[in-house]
């Protein structure tokens, strides 16, 4: 097996070929595969000579069209393979016919037309001779197992793209590329792949392809070599990395400081970076303006692209030509689109009739005096294969004041600038999403607020949020709006299954999309990859100043922002959905439990109403029954109301003597229960509470507090009348306020569970099945009540005794609590 290196990581320094080869060779690699476009490499003969100088082989070419690469190789040189991201019979014919036939190797990626091994399999069936260039990171991202893929298709493999990737930035086509990292820092099964290649006796090329780097590409090259040396695949690289002969000023990566030197690039950066863009749109506008100033040209237009449907959208133009510009164009027909197709800077002669005919804005040409147009593609800084913007520069010079090379590097700077703006816009929106949840108690309210945030963030007209119904697995609008525009969507989204990317589609005919063409759909993805729902955005509108009211398409930047918002929203949805389900279940439970209580009271009512029957019963029994049903009713009321997220249970504070009005009645009420367990009621002792004056508290709620504490103590006691003991005391502490200490000598609380016992539904680890009763809300309710009165409750001792300490603020002596409701914590 031979180890090679891919030039993609060197993209911003593409013209430093001599230095690139020097570093790659010094690191110990034996061959090079090129991301460079053929016309960036000079003549094949010169290239081979230069490679030879450093003892490097030319493995393959991946930049530019297949035909261009084939022609570049001329007659005397055959690369090991030429990589292709797509396949057709024409491509197969191109490879095998003519004077210079060559091997093509299919390279599946994360995006279409060949996504993952599933799409590749279908193509392999059509072409049994087609070779395979597996990229182990792309396979990992698409959910395939690179080890299994290599084993299955070992006979087709001519090369392996060896690289690492982290899922930290997500899986979508717009963000995944940020996840490419140096070998050993990601999640790809690198060791498994190497073992498998050894097991199948693979003797082809292993090419390290690091799509981008956070540092100097020379450092990354050497780090890769070092990792491979650690696996015994390369000799250890030298400690010193070859230095550049020529000092280079420019952008290394988005994480490093811009090295401002002189020249057009520095001037541009000063204009653009210091513009202080608030959002992506203002970034576009400042870029267009900066290019006009920099190039002293007549007009600059900025286009975004949608890879989904090959449409381009004009998002900024400076100065405004004050004519009606068509909103959307198919970039295969437009001149600017050629920059995407070719992925290079393209010059157009606007005086040439043939060129003018291709131009989609004839009105613009009549207004401008420009004789030439330059199209500059702007790449996603983390993915040089992905053109995100195109800058169209209109001028009348024979030679621009800025060279094509300078334009190229300006393009790199623009790529970084727009990414920074995108991050800014995304994180601002994400912050709004996180703030939104604070005031929202229902899925519907949250979805509505989320829709508002999205509409503003990406300037679209209509946003719908749909969530999966787990019962029938269909997607339904979040909330119960009878919305015409989302009718028929239940099945529509099911077709996308578990896609992990934004889908920009014209909606199907059977789906009402209010008459306009384009919708962008982004999945709401759970951390386990399951699709929780979809966010559907329709009909992006342009800023009015471009003078058009037509719908515009969504571009990758919109998709990236939307995805960031969707990722932020998922955890909040999960919590709200769980809460709503629990609330419904609780509502039903309390409703059902109340029916028998009402029946008991009804029976008591009949007894009371019939004097002859009543005579047979002692009055106390009837009174006790009514009191008990009252108590259970209050408990169920508390549960029923507290199932809502926000403040619900009003506090009715009045002057209350803790011992006489609260503690003692609770003890008395549990008297029958204590006796039933065989305990002596005298084993519950109460301190004198002398130092605790009457306090302004909700008497009923505090009665419940002590009722719950006592119930638990009885329930979780050792069933031994001599061991049973409860002690309640009250104090006043000048610094901390009023203190009530509740102690019992029961089974205690396990270490580590001191805070957890106050959580809803929590069961202590030492509790047996027989002891489990109720819903686990007792201590939670106690804490909610105490804290709503401005106090605290803590478990201050775990065992022998189990000790709870309640502190209440001093001001309760003079006034009611500051809050008016007993509340539960907000969603976090």
């Amino acid at each position: 097996m031979k180890i090679g290196f891919h030039t993609i990581v060197w993209w911003p320094f593409k013209d430093e070929l001599d230095y690139i080869f020097e570093v790659i060779a010094a690191a110990g690699f034996k061959g090079v595969e090129f991301r460079h476009l053929p016309d960036q490499l000079g003549k094949i003969g010169s290239l081979l000579k230069l490679l030879d100088k450093y003892n490097l082989e030319l493995i393959g070419l991946s930049g530019g069209s297949l035909e261009e690469r084939k022609n570049f190789c001329e007659h005397s040189f055959r690369p090991k393979y030429l990589h292709t991201n797509e396949w057709s019979e024409e491509i197969a014919k191109l490879a095998t016919t003519g004077k210079n036939p060559f091997t093509i190797a299919l390279h599946p990626r994360i995006f279409k037309p060949v996504r993952g091994i599933k799409d590749a399999q279908e193509i392999f069936k059509k072409d049994p001779n087609l070779k395979f260039l597996p990229d182990i990171a792309h396979l990992t991202i698409t959910g395939d197992n690179p080890v299994e893929v290599i084993k299955t298709y070992k006979d087709r493999i001519v090369g392996v793209h060896f690289k690492d990737w982290t899922s930290e930035f997500g899986h979508s086509v717009h963000r995944y590329a940020r996840g490419f990292v140096e070998l050993g820092e990601g999640e790809v099964d690198l060791g498994g792949v190497l073992r498998t290649l050894r097991d199948i006796d693979y003797n082809g090329w292993l090419i390290v392809e690091q799509d981008w780097t956070r540092t100097d590409p020379a450092i990354s090259t050497f780090r890769a070599a070092k990792w491979l040396a650690g696996k015994g695949l390369l000799p250890a690289p030298p400690a010193k990395i070859p230095e550049r002969k020529q000092k280079r000023v420019g952008v290394n990566s988005i994480y490093e400081e811009y090295h401002l030197g002189g020249g057009a690039e520095a001037h541009f950066l000063e204009k653009v970076v210091s513009a202080g863009w608030q959002d992506v749109q203002s970034c576009y506008e400042s870029i267009a303006r900066a290019f006009v100033e920099l190039c002293s040209c007549e007009l600059v237009g900025l286009w975004t692209c949608s890879p989904a449907n090959k449409l381009m959208d004009l998002v900024a133009v400076y100065p405004d030509p004050d004519i009606h510009l068509k909103a959307v164009m198919d970039y295969q027909k437009s001149l600017s689109g050629e920059a995407i197709e070719q992925q290079r800077i393209v010059d157009f002669d606007l005086t040439d009739l043939k060129v003018r005919k291709q131009f989609a804005y004839p009105e613009l040409l009549t207004v401008l005096k420009s004789k030439k147009m330059v199209s500059v593609p702007i790449f996603n800084p983390w993915n040089p294969n992905h053109v995100r913007l195109v800058v169209s520069i209109f001028h009348s010079y024979d030679e621009m004041p800025v060279s094509n090379d300078e334009l190229f590097y300006l393009g790199v700077a623009v790529g970084h600038s727009t990414s920074l703006a995108l991050d800014e816009a995304g994180s601002t929106s994400v912050a709004k999403v996180n703030a939104l949840v604070g005031g929202k108690s229902s899925v519907r309210d949250f979805a509505e607020g989320l829709s508002d945030i999205i509409e503003k963030a990406i300037d679209c007209e209509e946003v719908n949020v749909l969530l999966r119904n787990p019962i029938d697995d269909k997607f339904e609008p979040a909330g119960y709006k009878d919305d015409e525009s989302v009718k028929g969507l239940e099945d529509y989204f099911s077709q996308f299954g578990n896609v992990r990317e934004t889908v920009i589609t014209p909606e199907g005919k059977n789906v009402a999309a209010n008459g306009k063409a384009m919708c962008m759909n982004t999945p709401l993805l759970r951390s386990n990859g399951e699709v929780l729902g979809w966010v559907r955005c329709c009909n992006k509108h342009t800023p009015r100043k471009l003078g058009t009211s037509e719908s515009f398409i969504f571009c990758d930047d919109d998709a990236a922002i939307l995805e960031a918002i969707a990722q932020a929203a998922v955890p909040h949805f999960e919590v709200l959905i769980a809460q709503e389900r629990r609330a419904k279940a609780l509502g039903r439970l309390t409703h059902e439990l109340k029916a028998p209580i009402v029946a008991i009271r009804g029976a008591v009512d009949f007894i009371e109403y019939n004097p002859e029957v009543k005579r047979l019963f002692e009055h106390d029994y009837l009174g006790d029954i009514l009191e008990w049903t009252d108590l259970v009713d209050e408990l169920l009321d508390n549960l029923d109301l507290l199932r809502h997220s926000l403040l619900k249970l009003p506090i009715k504070a009045k002057k209350t003597r803790l011992l006489a009005d609260v503690v003692s009645p609770a003890v008395k009420q549990l008297d029958p229960t204590v006796r039933r367990y065989g305990f002596a009621p005298s084993r519950i002792t109460r301190g004198r509470f002398e130092a605790v004056p009457p306090l302004y508290i909700d008497r009923k709620r505090f009665h419940q507090v002590f009722f719950n504490l006592l119930s638990n103590a009885i329930k979780y006691s050792y069933k031994d009348r001599n061991a049973f003991r409860i002690d309640i005391e009250g104090y006043f502490h000048a610094e901390t306020g009023f203190k009530i200490v509740f102690r019992d000598w029961g089974k205690g609380v396990a270490k580590g569970e001191e805070k957890a016992i106050f959580q809803e539904g929590f069961r202590g680890s030492g509790i047996t099945e027989e002891e489990v009763t109720g819903q686990g809300f007792g201590l939670w309710l106690v804490q909610q009540t105490v804290e709503s009165h401005g106090g605290t409750i803590k478990l201050t001792n775990n065992l022998y005794p189990t000790e709870f300490t309640i502190l209440l603020p001093k001001y309760l002596k003079f006034q009611a609590p500051k809050t008016q409701h007993i509340h539960r914590s907000n969603v976090s």
């Binding site: 419904k584 109340k594 109301l641």
Partner: protein, 149 residues
């Protein structure tokens, strides 16, 4: 002829039989319907004869109202209240529920001064007395409006 009361509640076996028994002991005839569909059907058939309606909140939504509107039946009665009023605007309706009256679901009712009675606080014979006083008050209003005309 006995005064006819319509009792809309899906509890047929536990607590509601006590209420119905108490009403019958006070001389009323009571018809129970367990869903909005059967209730509406009965109202249309027996319109004019029904003198008062007692309405629960958590009842099945039936076909008249959808599962989504009623939050799977949890607020059927609240939505159904206004629907009944469309059919019988002059018949008094007593809301009788297990849900605490301070629940935010009843905000609209509180704003409209529509009292919400909870079953825990309103025992069977208390309900019967409430029905008697409501009917009496309604008759007085009827007489008053007739004499005003």
């Amino acid at each position: 002829m006995k005064t006819l009361i319509l009792f809309i509640d899906d509890d047929e076996t536990i607590a509601v039989p006590y209420y119905i028994k108490a009403l019958e002991m006070k001389g009323f005839e009571v018809k129970q319907c367990i869903t909005p569909d059967t209730a509406l059907e009965f109202v249309q058939k027996a319109k004019g004869k029904i003198k008062l309606i007692i309405l629960d909140v958590m009842i099945p939504h039936g076909k008249t109202l959808s599962s989504k509107e009623t939050n799977e039946g949890l607020i059927t009665g609240i939505l159904f209240y206004d629907k009944i009023l469309e059919f019988c605007p002059d018949i008094p309706i007593i809301i009788l529920t297990n849900i605490p009256s301070v629940d935010e679901k009843f905000k609209d009712f509180h704003d409209r001064n529509i009292p919400v009675h909870t079953k825990m606080k309103c025992k069977p014979f208390q309900l019967a007395n409430l029905v008697i006083s409501t009917l009496a008050s309604n008759n007085k209003n009827d007489l008053k409006s007739q004499s005003d005309n």
